[in-house]
Symmetry: none
DNA sequence: GATGAATGAGGTTTCATTCAT
DNA sequence: GATGAATGAAACCTCATTCAT
């Protein structure tokens, strides 16, 4: 991890720190220590402090996700295959190993904070996230709409609402995994169940059933 | 609001404060001001401070929800009707008006914090929540299991995973409404769509389709 | 000094601290220690920090000076007697003892800072000072103008420019005294010379000479 | 400004920065940026940092002033003419344009700081200033004393006190101009009034009136 | 029960200063 | 000479918490 740029090391360290202690209890000093960097340097890269660090974690994630998504989906046209690939990629980026589960937790837990930004100087960073987020949402909604038009997906519901269902279901299933990994509180299912359940959700809820 | 007990006024004020600023930035002074109460008084009712206030919001909610749930479900036996009633009640308690959406937001955002409590003196409050939470989860899981046993619900998935799907989907649909209410960022659907979408989710994802 | 209100004790302590170390090197911690007060309390009374403390020292001084001035000048009508009384009062408030010389130094040294305030939340405090300052300036200018109209004072110069001369001369004479008191650098004159010199300045520069 | 030596560019930039923000809030980074130079380079020329930069501004000013003074006064013997020439030169160096008014402001504001230097390694620079300052003061005092001895100037006051009057009056008149230039707060007089008022001060206060 | 001035631990934040390049 | 990323000491500042009233 030490061969990364200091900026990325800070983001990685912050992900861990926030995942473990929550945003409220995360401290800049500990982030710095974890990143093996002086506390002052964090302010060099993220002058607005902790919140900007948090937002930057999110920005970095979405940018990478959207980029990969674009590449992967380029060669797929079938709506079911597309939505499946999308779920697979999200899972890959968030569940593959425990470090990524940390990231998942931070993204899930801190998403609401996005809507509380009042600091004008953070508007830019927020806009970046909004843009990436919309891009992602658009990708999903477009797939759903295409599927509906082709008569493959259920046409009686709004794509936006269906997307929220997929998003929320995935999030909560992942969150259970994280709890399982970090505490030993078994929620009653494992990684395999997540995959199976999401497949079923796509097939039964999303697709049109004759 | 001023005719409530001061204790309840504090919890209401805290809900608003946390919904607006997040737990990290919520301050006791502002909660006190919103509740029209001195900051010292908060410590009379909640000696362990901010975290206890947060937990108490959650406790209050779950207790009321579970109590009503028990009453409402007592006379219903059909699994589909039971799960529908459960969704209806949750929606009633969280979506009915904007104040309740604030509550929804706090519950959603602060759920993860439950797993980070180390203060021994809060173990009791935490246990209360865990008990109420398990009661709620049990209620759902039992309904699902019963439905599976009766051959009404899809028996190929784990009840716990299915419950996460229902839970996450509901949460994210509600969250969209909150965003719409507090910011003017339209996510593309309204309250009616939430109801319709959840109904569809139950019918198609949860139920066994011939 | 301990029987004063804490707020006044803070201002007194800050006067001393700033006089000794300069505004740039004055620290909140030392001001608190000197005032025998916790550092947090300073922010309770002066939420905008060090600058607000500095401004508040100035406000307090001007308010008292203007108030006394009004009382003292009420019963005097002769321009020469009025300007002499004004000088006497200023001297009384700034030179009488070494503590007051500290105040004089702070007022003199930090006056320029007044014109650098950009913080919107300090606009109020700044306005207070401006108001008091104008009141004082008006008092002088009015005396001078009256004297000119009565043919007692030199009518060939602008009252505003003459006032700056009186103001600057007084300031610099006092400043020399402060240097003498705090360091042992003799500037070559004493308190008696200040009085004598200012009298002479009034008589010869201000008054019309036949 | 870019054709100056980097050392002089730094001093000019610092003058501007300090005039605008005050010594307390001036930062090396901003000085560097204004001088179009890296912050590290400032330490090459001024190893003792910000304070040394400040002192160097003052040194540079006094050296030039004293040098020119010596040249200009060499051929003048009449005390009134000499003191008038001195005032004219000071005015030339500080009032001629707005950039010089910045310099005036820095010199005025920062003079007191001279008496608070404790750093041993700056003793040299401080001594330089003291020497130049004394040279200047001596020049004035000598002119005054000569004038008194020749019966041209008022002999009843101490030269040192009279010098403070001249110094303070000049400073405050200039200060008013600065305020006018940087803010739009009119103090009621202009450059011409400054000249006229100082002439009058010399003629009436300094000179012996028959 | 109720208040709010007062405390001070502990976080945030700044920025003068260094040093490898 | 010149750079600017990096450091870390030392300031600022907040706010949960207490307690005399």
């Amino acid at each position: 991890m030490n061969d990364l740029s200091k900026e990325n090391r800070i983001l990685d360290a912050a992900t861990l720190e926030i995942a473990e202690n929550g945003y409220a209890n995360a401290t800049m000093a500990r982030i710095a220590k974890r990143a093996n960097v002086s506390s002052g340097l964090i302010y060099f890269y993220f002058p607005k402090g902790k919140l900007q660090v948090l937002l930057s974690i999110t920005v970095r994630f979405w940018k990478i996700l959207n980029e990969r998504l674009e590449n992967q989906l380029a060669s797929i046209s079938d709506p079911v295959a597309r939505i499946t690939e999308l779920a697979r990629l999200a899972e890959f980026m968030l569940v593959r190993d425990n470090n990524r589960l940390y990231l998942a937790k931070v993204l899930i837990e801190e998403l609401p904070r996005l809507f509380m930004i009042s600091d004008d100087e953070l508007k830019d960073t927020r806009m970046e996230i909004t843009v990436e987020n919309r891009k992602f949402i658009n990708t999903i909604d477009t797939i759903i709409r295409d599927g509906q038009n082709q008569g493959v997906f259920d046409g009686s519901l709004k794509p936006s609402a269906m997307r929220q269902v997929l998003y929320g279901a995935t999030e909560m299933l992942l969150y259970g995994l994280f709890i399982k990994a970090s505490r030993n509180e078994d929620l009653g299912y494992g990684k395999a169940d997540v995959k199976k359940t999401l497949d079923s959700l796509i097939r039964k809820f999303l697709c049109k059933n004759p």
